[in-house]
Amino acid sequence: MTGIISTDVLIVGAGPVGLFAVFELGLFDMKCHLIDILDKPGGQCAELYPEKPIYDIPGWPSISAQGLVDKLLEQIHPFKPDFTYNRMVSSLEKLEDGSFRVTTDENEVFEAKVVVIAAGGGSFQPKRPPIPGIEPYEGKSVFYSVRRMEDFRGHDLVIVGGGDSALDWTLNLQPVAKSVTLVHRRPEFRAAPDSVNKMYAMQEMKQLAFKVGQVTGLTGADGQLSSATIKGGPEGDIEVPCTRMLPFFGLTMKLGPIAEWGLNLHENLIPVDTEKFQTSVPGIFAVGDINWYPGKLKLILSGFHEVALMAQAAKRIISPGERIVFQYTTSSTSLQKKLGVVE
């Protein structure tokens, strides 16, 4: 464990609403640290539909989802937020002095005076493939990511999927594993053509096997895989012996550990009041798609409104007793200094 990271506000989720929260909090001099399970900012906008246009961002008749993320990053740049990627917040506890201790799935510890949950539809997690009876093998011989390539040395490996993750790991693990079989529903791939060509070349040289079809069953005992059944291919039903499997079926959103943080929930959403967007625990706020209140609309623009009001309430917690002056960025010299647009 490394040292504790302290910040004014810890924001869980770096999607558009989490990013804009940095702006509104920054105007009140609050320093933010964002944690996201993805390897980049932008949340669903960046992960699910970066190139799709959004038509209901005020002032932008049409902007691509990634374009919006890029603009938000530019807008919050003056406030120098810190980012921690590839991490899921696993626990959240309130300390005696009213601040919060937050721990990630890699055991990093953060302390913050205020926590803002901007987790959208929850955390992106690898999608469990549609293979009946896969659960007992998970974490023992079926893995959804490669943490150490060495873990696959000497194994008969089946990789399932047709995207870049599946192809990249097929190529990278081929020299390490005893054998590699790639399984995909069809001969066309979503992955980069270059990787696909390399894979086919290696198949020609019998360095790996590629099977068209879907994995429909697993055989093994005590979590240890011994073979996989593949159906739907030109060879009919086949049995491929294997001791490790890596399925890459994309990501899905799950509420995850948030459910265990002691907050009141309403159908997997976090109820908040509409003045402060505070949860049932004072000092923890929830904004964007993850929150719920009467009339809630899951729109990015609603999230932007929510963070502006939330920032006022957060300031009262972080600087108790200090008078909050409402100012416009257009006319306030002090806000413009913070934004770095005047000396």
């Binding site: 669903q44 699910l48 539909y49 549609p130 047709g162 979503r190 079926f249 994309g250 959103m253």
Partner: protein, 106 residues
């Protein structure tokens, strides 16, 4: 109005009136058909509105485009008549269309 029929995995039938130009997914959501999740809201980005088109209708409905075919890789138990319902637009010629909801969405 164009008539659509959804058959949920438990066999429950939902007959709905759909506006031309809307997507089959939108009509499932509007009529609370169980088993259609549409996590991404119709952006062809999640494969959680997967349906099986009734065999009598596959020719009229047509084949998925490349992007949809890519997304179908993420769906559960993909069959030759699998489609993502957010990518099927309702039109006169689809009056009477029957689609079945799979056991689960991914």
């Amino acid at each position: 109005m164009t008539k659509l029929t959804f058959i949920a995995h438990d066999g429950t039938q939902f007959d709905v009136d759909a506006e031309n130009g809307s997507t089959v997914m939108e009509n499932a959501i509007r009529n609370a058909v169980p088993g259609i999740e549409a996590e991404c809201g119709g952006a062809c980005a999640c494969a959680t509105c997967h349906v099986y088109v009734d065999e009598a209708w596959t020719a009229e409905v047509g084949e998925p485009e490349a992007m949809e075919e890519d997304m179908l890789d993420f769906a559960y138990d993909v069959q030759p008549n699998s489609r993502l319902s957010c990518q099927i637009k309702v039109r006169d010629a689809l009056d009477g269309l029957v689609v079945r909801v799979p056991e689960r969405q991914g």
